[in-house]
Symmetry: C2
Subunit: 330 residues, 2 copies
């Protein structure tokens, strides 16, 4: 059978363009013993993929590579003992509509009572990143002030809500008035800043955080982060989850020197790898499911339909087109 696939045609310079990708076709052979034929259902597009193209996130993506990311698929045919047709699986999969797989690294998905796409959003690595990074690194305490950047995104929108559940005052920074309204009315954030229409983000942060900032959950880096980190309280914690403002940098870039602030304010600035929390994923998923079931945690997905639109969805991340997790339905 014929399958579609998407390759990185060339490394992007600055924000990725459709021309950096190409759609190809491949004839799939029959499956052999131990193999599965998978039909891809949902594919996750994520900012870290851009960092792979810049070489910062390892292993890098180079021109000619078939793109890959987390995806949910259905087993169509199986010559492997562990899987049967109809099974839904999660794994790092190449961007193909159908593919042959040896089953390694795939997780069979139970029925969580939530749509399958949730395994790429709130019950997947973005929800788990929000949960573990905020609780383990940010260590929120009641009455502390938490600022979240990229707050309408997949991780930020969950992190801010968990902050609220833990008793923090939560201020979100995002790129449109609609997003700010959504964070306040739907997610329960205390306040929000639309950085695109706010002339002085720092002044806005100051006025919304009269007691300073105890935790900064950062998804963006760049000037927004400079403005926030400048206003941290002593012993503040900066959870560095992403740095989307820097992934498209074409020059080496310049920024506010961060180290003096780390000294002056005794800050903790920390990155993390969500895979390192693997042993605790069940705990995290359980907690997130409880909150969802209790109506205390909203999760949003921006779902684009059509395999061919994967590049468009990915590029949309850098244009702020998503509320919550950006996912392509194949």
């Amino acid at each position: 059978m014929k399958s579609k696939l998407i390759r990185l045609a060339s490394l992007p310079v600055g924000i990725p363009q459709e021309a950096n990708f190409n759609l190809g076709f491949e004839e799939l052979p029959a499956i052999k013993a131990g193999e599965l034929l998978l039909k891809t259902l949902y594919i996750s597009v994520d900012p870290y993929l851009r960092a792979k193209m810049a070489g910062g996130h390892k292993p890098p993506l180079v021109a000619g590579d078939i793109m890959y990311s987390r995806a949910v698929a259905e087993v169509v045919a199986s010559a492997a003992a562990d899987f049967k047709p109809g099974d839904k699986v999660l794994g790092f999969l190449e961007w193909r509509d159908y593919l042959i797989h040896n089953g390694e690294g795939l997780t069979r998905l139970d029925d969580s009572g939530l749509p399958l796409s949730s395994y790429l959003s709130v019950l997947g690595s973005t929800g788990l990143s929000a949960y573990f990074a905020l609780t383990d690194i940010g260590k929120p305490k009641p009455c502390e002030t938490l600022v979240v950047s990229g707050a309408a995104g997949a991780v930020g929108s969950i992190a801010g809500q968990i902050g609220k559940l833990m008793g923090c005052r939560v201020i979100g920074i995002a790129g449109s008035n609609e997003k700010v309204d959504w964070m306040k009315s739907q997610l329960g954030f205390d306040a929000g800043i639309d950085y695109k229409t706010t002339p002085d983000t720092g002044a806005a942060v100051s006025s919304l955080c009269p007691d300073g900032i105890d935790i900064y959950f950062d998804n963006v880096g760049g000037a927004i982060s400079d403005a926030v980190i400048n206003r941290m309280n002593d012993y503040g914690r900066v959870v560095v989850c992403g740095s989307i403002a820097n992934y498209n940098d074409t020059a080496s870039g310049t920024g506010m020197p961060l180290l003096p602030l780390v000294v002056y304010k005794k800050l903790l600035v920390q990155g993390f790898l969500i895979a390192d929390y693997k042993a605790r994923f069940a705990e995290g998923i359980g907690r997130l499911q409880q909150w969802i079931a209790a109506g205390q945690l909203q999760y949003a997905e921006t779902i684009m339909d059509g395999f061919d639109r994967l590049p468009e969805a990915f590029i949309g991340l850098f244009e702020g087109k998503n509320e919550g997790k950006m996912i392509v339905r194949v």
Copy 2:
């Protein structure tokens, strides 16, 4: 009796100058009940005092303030129950050759078998900073690579040696060939870099750290730190003890964006306040004394003689005039 004192006459712009200080005189009254007359013996000059003048380190020092820092003094006369003439005390003291004090916050010094000045160096906050920050934040493990900046200074020279005692490969960065020789021959560092004569610090770090860097003990900030942090291994720890390169900044300055590296490499970047380790000072001092007694830890002091030379000694910190701790003997 007449006492001398030193005020901050004006806030320095860039590197402090002698003209930023002035020497004054004051008639001391007789001591009253509860008071002590102290004769200052040794005064510590430290880079963080410059940060106080820039407002970054709180509380700030402003023009007209009498300078103050850690000092060792002798009780000359006492009208307080807790102290008797001849007692040696440690405390934050104004820069005066004689002073009247109410005893609050003073620590009576036992005979450690080391010179009294050691309470301002290896047994004082600089030695304790090296010990606690390296072990608690840096968490050195055998065979890891530790890079120390400001490595010939008060904290760096101790931190590097403790790294060696814990089995690390230790590379020091300092500002002269003499200092590099001293670190290698006297302190047992594996290698050193004289950043003043090395055209490309980053390349030198790369060639001396073929396995990357696991711990960076930073006393300087600025371009040296950028070069080192760029070469950290995944899960590297950056212990931010000082940022002397930035204390004299007159503009807001620019630097390498640090946050993307924190994401890519899952780094920990942390500052600290040595006073927060107060409950464990006895442990730290005990450990440092053991190592000194066993001949495993060298400590150096650069002692300038004469109260009037306090400004010169302080300014000397920014000209790299010290090996080990800079102290003025009154």
